[in-house]
């Protein structure tokens, strides 16, 4: 798994929205996707994942719906809403600005 990194405040929302932009997923799926996509840098435990999911749902950016898995068990699948897509565009823009700024600072240092 490699070394894990603490998540920046607010980054989790961006990661979840980005993940759900591609396809609806349930909790386990989201955790897997994030770990996979970041090559194990970010591992999201349920203690932070679920509060984040519910917070995003409360704001109307994602919606959850129960459906059957292939294994026959039930799981809640989250999908992104139009408001969520708008929010994602904003978050991406923010992130880019921040990361460029941080990289500049780092470049100056070295």
């Amino acid at each position: 798994m490699g070394k894990q990194t603490e998540l920046l405040q607010g980054t989790l929302d961006l990661l979840i929205l980005r993940t759900l932009e591609l396809q609806p997923l349930h909790g386990v799926g989201i955790a897997d996707r994030v770990a996979q996509a970041t090559k194990g840098v970010f591992v999201i435990g349920p203690g932070s994942l679920f509060p984040a999911l519910h917070r995003l749902a409360d704001r109307g950016w994602i919606e959850g719906e129960w459906s059957e898995l292939a294994t026959g068990r039930r799981a809640k699948f989250y999908s992104i809403t139009p408001a969520g897509r708008k929010r994602l565009i904003e978050e991406k823009r923010n992130w880019n600005r921040v990361s460029i700024a941080v990289n500049q600072v780092l470049a100056e240092e070295s």
């Binding site: 409360d58 704001r59 799981a75």
Partner: protein
Amino acid sequence: MNLKRIFQRLRNRGRADADLEEEIASFYDGMQARRIEAGLTPGEARRETRAEFGSPARVVEAVRDSRVEAVLETAIQDIRYAWRGLRRNPGFAAVAVLTLALGIGANSAIYSLMESILLRSLPVAGAESLVVLNWHSRPPRDGGKDWVHVMQSVSGFAWKGGHGSYVSGMFPYGAFETLREENGSLSVLFGHFRAGDRTLSIGGAASSAGGEYVTGEYFRALAVRPAAGRLIGPEDDKPGAPPVAVVSFATSQNRFGGPAKAVGQPILVDNVPFTVVGVAPPEFRGVDPAWEPGVYLPLRANLLLDGSGAASMYGNGNFYWIELMGRLRPGVTLEQAQSAMAPRFRQWVSTTATTDGERAKLPELLLTPGAGGLNSLRRDYSKPLYVLLAMVGLILTIACANIANLLLARASARRREISVRLSLGASRWRVVRQLITESLLLASLGGILGVVLAHWGTQWLTVLLTNGRENFTLGAGLNWFVLAATAALTMLCGLLFGLAPALQATRPDVMPALKNGRAGEPRGWTQQALVVAQLALSLIVLVAAGLFVRTLNNLHSVQLGYARENILLFSVDARKAGHRDPEIVNFYSGLRRRFEAIPGVSGATLSQSSLIRAGHARGAMKVGETTVEGTRVLVTGANFHSTMRIPMLYGREIDDRDQPGSAPVAVISERLARTYFDGRNPIGHRIAFLKEKRELEIVGVSANLRYGSLKGENPMTVFIAASQVSLRGMTYALRTAGDPLRHASNIRDIVKEADSRIPVTNIVSQAAEIDRTIGQEVAFAKLCTGFAALALLISCIGLYGTMSCAVARRINEIGIRMALGARRGAVVWMVLRRVLVLVLIGIAISVPAALAASQLVESLLFETKPNDPAILALAGVILAGAGILAGYLPARRASKIDPLVALRHE
């Protein structure tokens, strides 16, 4: 924020929780399933998943805590917990809620009175742009005794302003006409004056109502809309205009059966026919809260109603009688209007001065905000109300200190519980919040009960303070304004008495408390300080009560010089029903004889007013060659002195021998006789009233009596025969056996039989009439005694609680002392000594404060010095006595301690 979603979740909490738990469970299932696929047994998979992610329950909690409504839920939880805590301790809760309710209720009641008197606006559109016109000058009688002022006569009020100035709201008509032309700053100027009590006859039935004369602009300027018909306009206020009247909404309902039925109806005002053209709206009750008109008449209707003198009022620039108000033009400030109008008034008023003395103190115009209407009530009541508010403020402070004390005691009892919660990881803030919730809950319960008490209290206070005064528009009651103030006060109290105990109880040093269940604060300094504060504040309230009770006693023990009991008073005005000289004299004396014949009535007489309200001077008079000023003159019918039990020293009283045709007579008081006849018998001598150019023969000398206000003096008094002067309304006095008021209906019947157009007004016993004039003092004495008892009670509860705690804390020490041979008496003394020390510290702190505070109420006292040492001593003794009483119970309990039990207690 998806409010719909949150709202649904709140409405269906159970299902939302189940849904969340299932969601988390399915996550854990998924993770476990993956591990089973990887070859672990179900048990191992379960353990490993939990090891990695923690328990599902904690995840559920984390989600719940992150929700928006979580704050609300913890608050609800806190409230439930606090409620359970209070239910477990019903005695504590009852004492706390009750003391708080009394404190808050008293505050709200006083505040609602203040709101209605001092703060409320007139119920008219744009009240904030209204202004009231007053003037101020040096007093007419400064230095010498003579009246020197352009205001040579006045009908209305004048009062003392700041810096010894003399202020009035009355103007001559000429000033109104002049200022009306200065219309740059006021869009409209209007006038009005009290028409006094008038007899309204409608369809043959007569009753009395307050009247108000208004100029044609009055209603338009106040932006009042009629409830029916039309209101008085400029066309009605002209000499010779058809006589019209506007009646108040209440009059229309009581006398006509509704506003619509009143319009167009004929009405007799003092037997003069008018036509009702309209009805004022229900909320409008005139511009003076102390005068609620039942009928509004055009200004110049006084030419029809008030006889020959009325016409001269308009042209006389030295007679002050009309009150003026105006409306500022948009954008004009009060100061701008003042500086625009004042020179104009100054110029006009200087033309009315005829001597240098008058010119030296010309009135200056003074504009004041008129949103609240006239401020006559505010002048009379603002100081008493502030004093009462200060008193109830003190009571509430005592109550808060008391509850803080009870909470402290409770907190030390709960220290263990709190320490356990703190050491189990509850944050300090969380526990403080819990404790504050508890005190806010207490405060809210107290506040709610307080509002109920305030509702009654306000009605009671209104009766107490207005004390039979009629025409009052004081609509004091609980409105949103008062309720909001009460709510704010309640929350403030909750925080005030909750915060300190909460912070103290959660101090970080939890370990000692855990080790030792009982140890709280080592000596309970905070508690003792709070008790001392309560005692000190109580002393102030006690001293105030003492001062006001003393004042009332002094007023009650004033030597009147005439009978107070078994006298019935009532007023009849035959002139308003059309009786004229000389027939009116016979009418009045005929009535007197019929009253005298009532079984159970041993005497009947009449005078122009009751003695306690008498205040008439009749200008200067001459005794021999000496001019005498300041004598009081009362017009009386036959048998006045014998009915009123005023002793005659020489000669005879006025009786039926004195007829219109016979020689004019007078009875003088002893003081006048002593001052101007030194030693000689005045009988047969003559006195003369300069203005009337009439000589009267002195036929009798009566003993001195308290004429007019109880607080006044016994002035030189002259009684003249009613049969020999022109009469208006008269007040009859009957001497009765037993309760005077039981003759009331009999009297009404007799008057109705004599002339059905005349209403009998103001039927009252002499004792009640006198008490009415000291209503404020009676109210203060009653209220403050109540307040003092309340303060004392609350403080004693505090003292009792503190001493009980102290005894409990020192149980070991007391046990040891007793084991070593201390006697019970010594133990009682040990505790009482502590009580006495606290009481003495309280008194020591509070005596200077009480002395300073009592200076502030000096103007409300009568023949009582504010720093009366006897009252101070009495208050101290009462406080110490109550303190010892409260401390005795814990002291006795301490002395009953069994040394063995106490030592085993550890």
